[in-house]
């Protein structure tokens, strides 16, 4: 009888936003399409933004052709968790007994853990992402049948012993990019032969229409685009501040910063006219925005893959990223598809160069596109997953 690959994730649903959540859905469906039986094991919680409590009924359902099994959430002390997380965020460390508490009060399900242990003979488990109780505890329930898709970021959670244990215990750990694997090695020690760089599949956006976007938003000037959640941890306030300063230092030629995506960011009044925050936009409009932009800027320091870079390159646009983010910087260097900045003056130089040199932009974009098509199409990525599973001895063909 064929084995089943079960993606284990804290919450699952068609409309949940978030990189790891979307990757889980898409990878599961891509593998199922290639003939590997796939299921989803998750809790009854709705999503990251809601209280981590039962929202869906427990039990099995079929969603978009995949079997989804949900288990009741274990009661938790949210306040204690928040206090410990706060300390972690401030750069503090947790004593072992506190870390145990932190893991216990993350999102998890006792029923799910029992199911994982009891059904290990017929499943391979793929835990995604690394930073929740479902993975920290679950990866230890049946380590010999465990794959980990950590989506590891350089953040305090990555330094927890629980993360280290999960990374060491899994039979295979699938990373998006070499920089993520390098981070895992600093956290969990050298590759014990279980680390694989698999990548993440990318879907191209529909063709964009620059004229439509410009007409809709009455834009006449060149546009620098930011696409993604507008959150502090994505470093968007830094981009807005840098851009404000850039516009004061270089009022000519005109340039607008357009932000698309959910969330909010304070826009200083002095650049109110040069920064356009469109909020969440539909997919087609996002594609139009790429078409209208001279480049995409991704200032985030916490990226484990950065899909927007791939989207930009597939849409034929170069990128500008923060030089202190190992992942995006590595993409730019490996693809020869974008520039990076560390500090304002480099931001000013690189942005001015991109804005003033259309030929450079075209060459960067072409190389970026070739990079994505060569490495991160769904076919390539599922090939690598199936290769990993074959090596582990999974029975599916």
């Amino acid at each position: 009888m064929a084995d089943t690959l079960a993606f284990v994730t804290p919450w699952y649903g068609r409309d949940i936003a978030g990189g790891a959540e979307a990757e889980c859905r898409a990878t599961a469906r891509a593998l199922q399409a290639r003939g590997f039986p796939v299921e989803i094991l998750t809790t009854c919680a709705r999503d990251h933004a809601s209280p981590w409590a039962d929202h869906h009924p427990p039990g099995a359902t079929e969603e978009d052709g995949l079997v989804v099994r949900r288990f009741r959430v274990r009661p938790r002390d949210a306040e204690r968790y928040a206090r410990l997380q706060w300390r972690l965020d401030l750069g503090g460390r947790l004593a072992p007994h506190e870390e145990a508490e932190f893991v216990r009060h993350s999102v998890n399900s006792d029923d799910l853990n029992a199911y994982l242990a009891a059904s290990r003979d017929r499943y391979w488990y793929a835990f995604i992402p690394y930073c929740f109780g479902t993975t920290w505890e679950g990866a230890l329930a049946a380590p010999e049948r465990t794959l980990l898709v950590p989506c590891l970021h350089d953040e305090p959670f990555a330094r927890l012993q629980a993360t280290r244990r999960a990374l060491r215990a899994a039979r295979a750990v699938c990373f998006h990019v070499p920089a993520e694997r390098a981070l895992a090695e600093t956290v969990a020690g050298p590759d014990p032969g279980t680390f694989h760089v698999v990548g993440e599949g990318v879907d191209a956006l529909p063709p964009g229409d620059a004229a439509r976007f410009r007409a809709k938003h009455r834009l006449h000037d060149p546009v620098l685009l930011y696409a993604g959640r507008k959150a502090r941890e994505k470093n968007v306030p830094l981009l807005v501040e840098y851009f404000a300063h850039y516009r004061i230092a270089r009022p000519d030629p005109p340039l607008k910063l357009v932000l698309v995506g959910a969330g909010g960011v304070r826009i200083p009044p002095r650049v109110g006219r040069d920064v356009l925050d469109l909020g969440f936009v539909p997919l087609q409009e996002k594609a139009d925005a790429y078409a209208a932009a001279i480049a995409l800027c991704q200032p985030s320091l916490l990226e484990s893959f950065s899909l927007v870079l791939m989207e930009a390159w597939l849409a034929g646009r170069p990128v500008l990223v923060h030089g202190r983010c190992a992942v995006t910087r590595e993409h730019c260097l490996a693809a020869n598809g974008g520039l990076f900045f560390d500090g304002y003056f480099e931001f000013q130089e690189t942005l001015a160069l991109l804005a003033g040199d259309p030929a450079l932009r075209a060459r960067l974009a072409t190389a970026g596109r070739a990079y994505v098509l060569g490495r991160y199409t769904w076919e390539r990525v599922t090939d690598r997953y199936l290769d990993v599973l074959d090596r582990l001895g999974a029975r599916w063909r």
């Binding site: 401030l90 503090g92 590595e330 490996a334 020869n336 304002y344 003056f345 072409t366 190389a367």
Partner: protein
């Protein structure tokens, strides 16, 4: 190990950009410019400040306490076994072995001392752990309460200040009323002492029905209270002066004589008539030419085409329709060609006029719609008839538009615009112009 696994930069192919090389050039250029002082000191300072503000969220005092406590909790066990490593290749393993051996030999002696330190640390932490965080929380609570108290005190002060201002306004109004009463009394006294010679004035006036039962000088007091201060009225009426370049001007219902004063200042001969003796007395006191007379009777007695202008503010709403028509016809007859008739009256197209100004005055008979007024003037023969809306409510009395804020979504901004459009329509209907003036020219 599978996958594309390379950590080296891609080789730039034909036509591709060597990003690593380009970035090295850019970084070198930035370094050179900084060194050469091409970025101004001010700019470097501002940017450094900016990076400090944005890149680091500096934890406050409260956060710092917790951080220190966490650091103590992490490091209390000074006797814990340290990790032995070496960076030397080849003989590294031997070095590690030797180090471990040395450590094992010395450990019992070091531990004797360290154990006391650990004991001390543990005791200290046992004291600090339950103590520091509650104290910090209490501090935060105190700070919050202080902020709340400050806010509350500020609000209370603002309320008291408002009440005091209101009291002052009431006192000022009372003073005005007393001054009016005094003027009325003086006028009455003057008339008793020095009765006007018979025949110098047109026939004795017939007071309108509304005034018949009111004591003399009552209307002066009433006007003082509700019409607005003399300065306000002068300010409002100054705009009409340009229409009355030619005299003589007759001010029908001259009241306290604000327009007569304006005419005098502009050098235009003008006379006022009013049915109220108190008003007339006040005008005379101010040295203005005013007589007590009924408008229809007085106008009727004047020779035709003898006036350059007729000014008639806040009068026609006191007249029944037939008297209004008669007044306008008489005015047309008595004006010289090119002469102007102006009638100012409350604007019934502004609905709050009915909850305020119009029905405050018992002697108001009927509101006159601007289009009705225009019709009456045109029917009497006036040309170039125009309606001027005047005396708008102050902006603070109107519904205030809601300002869109930067963090609103587009659909929220669209809602706001709709709400503001609706506010504007309500403003027009409820808080528009309180009065209008209909102006016609005799050709």
């Amino acid at each position: 190990m599978t996958g594309e696994g390379t950590t080296t930069a891609g080789e730039p192919g034909a036509g591709a950009v060597d990003v690593a090389g380009l970035m090295a050039e850019i970084q070198a250029r930035v370094r050179e410019r900084k060194a050469a002082g091409l970025y101004s000191e001010e700019e470097v300072r501002r940017v450094t400040q900016l990076e400090l503000e944005v890149a680091e969220s500096v934890p406050g005092f409260a956060g710092e306490l917790e951080q220190h406590l966490a650091a103590l909790n992490d490091g209390w066990d000074t006797a814990a076994e340290p990790v032995v490593t070496t960076h030397r290749r080849g003989i590294g393993r031997a070095v590690v072995l030797v180090k471990r051996l040395l450590r094992r030999l010395t450990r019992p002696y070091i531990t004797m001392v360290l154990q006391r330190q650990v004991q001390f640390n543990t005791t200290l932490l046992q004291l600090l752990n339950p103590f520091v965080l509650p104290v910090r929380d209490q501090l935060q609570d105190l700070q919050r309460r202080l902020e709340e108290a400050t806010l509350e005190a500020g609000e209370r002060l603002a309320v008291e200040h408002g009440e005091r201002q209101q009291g002052e306004r009431r006192l000022a109004a009372r003073l005005d009323a007393l001054a009016g009463e005094l003027a009325g009394l003086r006028g009455a006294l003057d008339r008793l002492r020095d009765p006007a010679p018979a025949g110098a004035l047109p026939p004795a006036p017939v007071p309108p029905p509304g005034l018949a039962t009111l004591p003399e000088a009552a209307y002066v007091r009433f006007e003082d209270r509700h019409r607005g201060s003399r300065e306000e009225i002068r300010h409002r009426q100054r705009g009409y002066l340009e229409l009355f370049a030619r005299g003589p001007v007759l001010d029908v219902g001259c009241g306290r004589g604000e327009f007569l004063e304006l005419c005098r200042e502009a050098g235009v001969p003008a006379r006022g008539i009013d049915v109220d003796a108190g008003m007339v007395a006040r005008c005379r006191e101010a040295g203005l030419d005013a007589v007590q007379a009924d408008a229809l009777a007085y106008l009727g007695a004047l020779p035709d085409a003898s006036l350059g202008g007729i000014f008639c503010a806040q009068v026609i709403e006191h007249l029944p329709p037939e008297a209004l028509i008669a007044l306008v016809r008489l005015a047309y007859a008595k004006l010289a060609p090119g002469g102007v008739l102006l009638c100012e009256t409350p604007n019934p197209a502004c609905l709050t006029v009915f909850s305020g100004a119009f029905y405050v005055d018992l002697t108001h008979v009927k509101p006159i719609h601007p289009e009705a007024a225009r019709f009456v003037l045109e029917a009497a023969g006036f040309r170039d008839v125009e309606v001027r809306y005047v005396n708008p409510y102050p902006p603070e009395a109107r519904l205030q538009p809601v300002e869109p804020l930067w963090y609103l979504r587009r659909y929220e901004t669209a809602f706001l615009e709709q709400i503001n459009d609706n506010f504007e329509r309500l403003n027009q209907l409820l808080w528009g112009a309180q009065d209008y003036a209909v102006v016609g020219v005799k050709r």
